[in-house]
């Protein structure tokens, strides 16, 4: 797995000095007069949530920029220290609320790593399927809203139509459209209903045609190209220095995908490609995400093929100290009743230690650092949020940008404010 040769998008580095995340106004410009400082306040017309950008403009050019975040800091990490491990699974989903399954997954994987718990194969493949569906969901939301902001308004309706198809599938399996808490320690909360497979196959048949539709609308559209080509440049070296990952990094020419480099779940057993584009502009980030949607559909298909042979297999691990026993056993077995009682009231205990688990969420590397003291509640949970890091790159991307490009660039970095602020 080699790194693609680094193209020379620009010479040297464009990371601002001395503060890497703030584009500072050149004082000579201020003396010449006519600098307007405006506030892209927390309440945006563009639907990225509560990001605040303080922008210095000289005419239409952006000469100074700093991002202010924290308008959605909900205190997830401290709240999770108060809840047991089982109850805590409902929290990470709401951090990156567009790619919710991925956040659940990273927390559950961290707990399972600490517990050294074996997860049955069916659960692994279903988790992979749902995470890839979630990746498509996240990219659809990105595409719909980014296109909406740049003026391609009808894309919003097309993308959300497919998004509803995905959420129908998720609802069928997990019981609710978003924030499903379906991933539990040891596997899945419930078995997969049989009606899921034919509907998922229909979706897999339909999705590539829908993606073709989107590409036909946008990829060679002159207005789209004008607004996204050459905008928001970020070279590979700068991207790595700024800690970028995911589509932003791959659009800058670096072939890095955690699903290939450090496979988790069963990603080493499926065939898929990783799109890498060299130019590091908004157009390439869009192309990376559209191509990823295709690859994810292919992965979903392979997962369905595998799951077809696993009807009737267990969907959660058998370790009764951690996993709730099946309900029918509670009528007959005393130990099951005790286990159920202990798990529900006190919670299962996770051995002492610290782990860092990282997965490839739709936004990049999403990580979870968990410290356990051996008890029923986590001691410290920290989430490495890819959107937090993506917004660090705003100052670098927005050098030599015009006001209208600001929206395109912020949209292409695809940051979700819940993830940024946690």
């Amino acid at each position: 797995m080699a790194v693609a040769p680094r193209p020379g998008i620009y010479e040297g580095t464009r990371i601002p000095d001395p503060i890497p995340t703030v584009l500072q106004l050149d004082e000579r410009l201020r003396e010449r007069g006519d600098i307007l400082q405006i506030n892209f306040g927390p309440n945006h017309p563009s639907t990225h949530g509560v990001l605040r950008l303080i922008v210095d403009l000289s005419g239409e050019e952006v000469v100074g920029l700093s991002a202010v975040i924290g308008y959605l800091h909900t205190g997830f990490e401290k709240s999770m220290e108060q809840k047991t491990w089982w109850k805590g699974i409902t929290y990470p989903e709401r951090i990156d609320y567009v790619g919710f399954q991925n956040n659940e997954l990273v927390f559950v994987l961290a707990i399972e790593k600490l517990l050294s718990l074996e997860v049955p194969e069916k659960a692994t493949w279903m988790r992979m399927l749902l995470c890839e569906l979630n990746r498509i969901h996240s990219h659809l939301v990105f595409l719909g809203t980014a296109a909406l902001e740049l003026g391609a308004i009808s894309m919003f309706w097309y993308c959300f139509r497919e998004r509803d198809l995905i959420l129908d599938l998720v609802e069928m399996v997990c019981g609710t459209r978003m924030h499903t808490r379906y991933f539990q320690t040891g596997g899945l909360a419930e078995d997969i209903p049989v009606g899921f497979y034919p509907q998922a196959r229909e979706f897999v048949e339909w999705m590539p045609k829908a993606i073709d539709d989107y590409e036909r609308l946008l990829s060679n559209n002159e207005i789209w190209l004008e607004r996204t080509r050459g905008i928001g440049l970020l070279s590979a070296d700068d991207a790595i220095a700024l800690g970028q990952s995911g589509p932003v990094l791959r659009a800058s020419g670096v072939d890095w995908d955690l699903r290939k480099a450090e496979p988790y779940l069963a990603y080493d057993q499926v065939q898929f490609g990783v799109p890498v584009y060299p130019n590091g502009d908004v157009y390439d980030r869009y192309k990376v995400r559209v191509d990823e949607m295709r690859e994810s559909t292919h992965i979903v298909e392979q997962c369905l093929d595998r799951l077809d042979g696993m009807h009737g297999e267990p969907w959660i691990a058998d370790d009764r100290k951690v996993v709730l026993p099946p309900r029918h056993e509670l009528h007959t077995s005393m130990e099951s009743l005790i286990h159920h009682f202990k798990i529900v009231t006190e919670g299962y205990r996770v051995p002492e230690g610290e782990v860092y688990v990282a997965i490839e969420s739709p936004r990049g590397e999403s990580g979870c650092y968990v410290v356990s003291d051996g008890g029923a509640k986590p001691w410290r949970v920290k989430f490495r949020a890819p959107s937090f890091v993506a917004l660090e790159a705003t100052a670098t991307c927005m050098r030599d940008a015009l006001v209208a490009d600001l929206i395109a660039i912020v949209g292409s970095l695809d940051s979700v404010m819940g993830d940024t602020d946690r």
Binding site: I19, I240, E262, G353, W379
Partner: protein, 183 residues
Amino acid sequence: MTYEGVPGVVRTKEQYGETTLVVDTPRLVEACLHLRDEEGFNMLADIAAADYLGWASGPEDVAGYIGDASGRSVSAPGSWGLKRLPEPKPKRFSLSYHLLRVGSDPARVRVQVWLDEAEPVASVTDVWPTADWHEREAYDLMGIVFEGHPNLVRILMDDDWDGHPLRKDYPIGGEPVRFSGEE
């Protein structure tokens, strides 16, 4: 994976497939530069601060402590009455730098430093520019001061907020839940 050339390493821990290098606090930047330049860890994934106030301090405070100092306690089923104390920590705060090597030979390592209350640590913003916001967050939520940071101001909380919320002595806040049957 051996990390013998890294300056300042006090202890190495291998657990769950992860390598943790505990580094002497004054030599942190040296160690990071070595890891970036010699070993090729070109990306800083995360800086995670943890507060260990109240760790292993007594039977009531820490959830993982079964039993009490005098002997076996049979009130904890499944523990056979044995005491289980979490391993004591050297200082109050730990700061973990999760490093990643992006390239053809992926690797991860965790560099950890331990800090006391109000002990400052050098900023690694010159080594990896992405540390900027991570260090601001550690300062904001945990109160760890980074020397040499170009812009150490609060990032997630209000600018005039008092206190550092993620510390263990900071209350969870919120409202007490009122139940309708109570009054």
